[in-house]
């Protein structure tokens, strides 16, 4: 089957999710893409590469089951099998948590490449949740990747940082990253108050992988440690599932997310005129 990665590789694909800017939804995207891929029968491991600022575990709701972490594996204190946490909701999904009491100097590019080579043999998708920034943590997250996904929100700061990150990835002679536009608000775009998908794509000149609408369900689901992509009723969950299908090589047409503007908003706007 055609996949996100054109060339053939031994085993699975390593996909790094990054952004430059913090707080745009890297961890949320990693968790939900992992869930959506696993729901479709793919063997997935989500790797939290944000050493010292561990969060993928809480977003996935697996924080209570951590015994060993990524640094323990790299330093030989634990076997991969001991550190991987199986998601009880989805047999195909596992998490490799970050170390919380260490910092980014604990891992080198080479160690990360070796780790991912091992993971590739057992999983179809190795999803690396990169830390924010463009320093060491970003570099070792990119080093093993076959494909990079850049998460961007339709704001000047995020787009600018994404441009920088895209340039850095290309300088590593990696394939040009693909773009996920997160937290899109269609009603604001319609009013000319938010950059549209076409604007962002024109500025960054990369291929679009998906558009995720702003969705309050992300907050409530994160409160519970229950990613939205586990079900099909939230707009963001559906959007992540569509991206997962594209990652598996399915041809899923792009659609501008449904207008989140409620009936009430429309009425109040009518009266404001």
């Amino acid at each position: 089957m055609a996949s996100l990665l054109p060339e053939d590789t031994m085993g699975g694909q390593v996909i790094t999710i990054t952004s430059g800017k913090g707080g745009v939804g890297k961890t949320t995207a990693t968790a939900n893409l992992g869930v959506a891929l696993a729901r479709r029968g793919q063997r997935v491991v989500c790797v939290d590469a944000d050493i010292g600022l561990r969060n993928l575990d809480v977003v996935l709701g697996l924080e209570n089951r951590i015994v060993y972490d990524l640094v323990d594996v790299i330093e030989g204190h634990a076997k991969l099998r001991q550190a991987l946490i199986k998601d009880k909701r989805l047999p195909e999904l596992q998490l490799l948590p970050a170390a919380q009491k260490r910092d980014k100097t604990a891992v080198t590019d080479k160690q990360m490449i070796k780790l991912c080579d091992d993971l590739k043999r057992e999983f179809d998708f190795v999803l690396i949740d990169s830390p924010a920034g463009i320093e060491g943590g970003f570099k070792y997250s990119i080093a093993p990747s076959d494909q990079v996904i850049v998460i961007v929100t339709p704001e000047v700061s995020s787009v600018r940082d994404a441009d920088r990150v895209i340039g850095l990835v290309e300088a590593q002679e990696k394939p040009t990253p693909k773009l996920v536009i997160n937290r899109m608000r269609p009603s604001m775009v319609k009013r000319g108050e938010m950059l549209a998908t076409a604007d962002v794509l024109e500025i960054l000149a990369v291929e679009l992988l998906g558009i995720v609408p702003e969705d309050e369900a992300i907050i409530t689901s994160t409160n519970k440690g229950h990613p939205v992509a586990l079900e099909d009723h939230s707009p963001a969950g559906v959007a992540f599932t569509r991206i997962a299908k594209r990652m598996m090589g399915e041809d899923v047409p792009f659609q501008v997310p449904e207008d989140s503007e409620g009936l009430l908003d429309r009425f109040s706007r009518l009266f404001r005129r």
């Binding site: 000047v156 787009v159 009013r191 000319g192 108050e193 950059l195 500025i203």
Partner: protein, 103 residues
């Protein structure tokens, strides 16, 4: 709102358009190390030169750098409204032939 403004020529650019323009300028700098001021001057000068010959829509001029693997490309997108008449001041018919015959 925006629609009426456009009809009556009161163009207040939308904040999304401002975001796009500002980004294009700042990224041109990030990508090439040409300062935003220099780029603005460059843009103005290009606009002025072109305006001598054709009437252009100054509001929608875009001067950017596109990122590519090995080369940065200066891209100017300049909407042309109509060519300027050969002389700035309005003149009776036949000016053009008179001019050419003079040279």
């Amino acid at each position: 709102m925006g629609f009426l403004d456009r009809i009556f020529g009161r163009s207040t650019p939308s904040s999304a358009n401002m975001a796009k323009e500002r980004l294009q300028l700042v990224l041109a700098h990030d990508r090439t190390d040409i300062s935003p001021e220099t780029l603005n001057v460059l843009k103005d000068e290009i606009v002025n030169v072109i305006s001598k010959h054709v009437e252009i829509d100054r509001e929608h001029v875009e001067v950017t750098f596109s990122r590519a693997a090995h080369i940065n490309r200066l891209v100017a997108n300049i909407p042309v409204i109509r060519p300027r008449p050969p002389r700035a001041k309005p003149s009776p018919r036949g000016t053009r032939t008179a001019q050419t015959s003079k040279s």
